[in-house]
Symmetry: C2
Subunit: 139 residues, 2 copies
């Protein structure tokens, strides 16, 4: 393994430890995948792309790890698709846009509108946008 990757892994180890998560090989690799593939992948996408590197990897591990990251506030679950959960390692305040032609999900780097309700206690919000992405427009 290249030196950069080792350094990378060391940094990720500390991030996980700070969140109280034991930095296992699988968890480090999944975290590393998320920060280097910013396409809001589904669990299946993560599994398919990593099982080549980690032949013993199981889908269950991917699911439980992604859920662990989400529950610890290190990743966001996106429901922009319906019928499948996508994960975004960037938990900062921003919106998401899905191209209805190619299916790609992009970040929209604006903070989500703050909405309140006179009745309910609103704790968080998500804004999903739909349309045609830059690439598909140009074709």
């Amino acid at each position: 393994m290249k030196r950069e990757n080792l350094v990378y892994s060391e940094e990720i180890k500390e991030i996980l430890l700070k969140k109280g998560i034991a930095p296992s090989f699988q968890r480090i690799k999944i975290y590393e995948y998320l920060i280097s593939h910013r396409v809001h992948p589904s669990a299946e996408r993560v599994y398919i792309d990593l099982v080549g590197f980690i032949p013993t990897l199981s889908r269950t591990t991917v699911h439980s790890t992604l859920n662990l990251f989400a529950d610890k506030g290190m990743a966001r679950r996106l429901f922009i698709d319906g019928n499948l959960v996508r994960f975004d390692i960037d938990s900062s305040d921003h919106m998401h846009f899905k191209c209805t032609k190619c299916g790609e999900v992009y970040d929209i780097l604006k903070s989500s509108p703050k909405v309140t309700s006179p009745e309910h206690k609103v704790l968080s919000g998500e804004m999903y946008l739909y349309g045609i992405c830059k690439k598909c427009k140009e074709e």
Copy 2:
């Protein structure tokens, strides 16, 4: 069947015909269910609640009818839950709030914020809010 329901059905027939949808018994009943049960039900919820009245009803019919309504712009698909699609017969511009305690989904009668992007062509948007609902707060 009571007279009111018959009148009701007549009105729904016309609504469906105007949208180019043949007003079959099942479609009328599903439409009627949606306008009288404003809880953003899933297909399964609609099926369970209607199969008592229509013993021959099948899940496939419910799914295809709800998808038909959505595709014709008569209903909205809500992805507020992840892993299951909810339907809202009110396709006017408003937001949705899900109580993370009881799971209920409420309407928030404000129009969704209009968001644009310098890159992509944004055609529509959905805002989902999460928190504790009025009922659960009071307990």
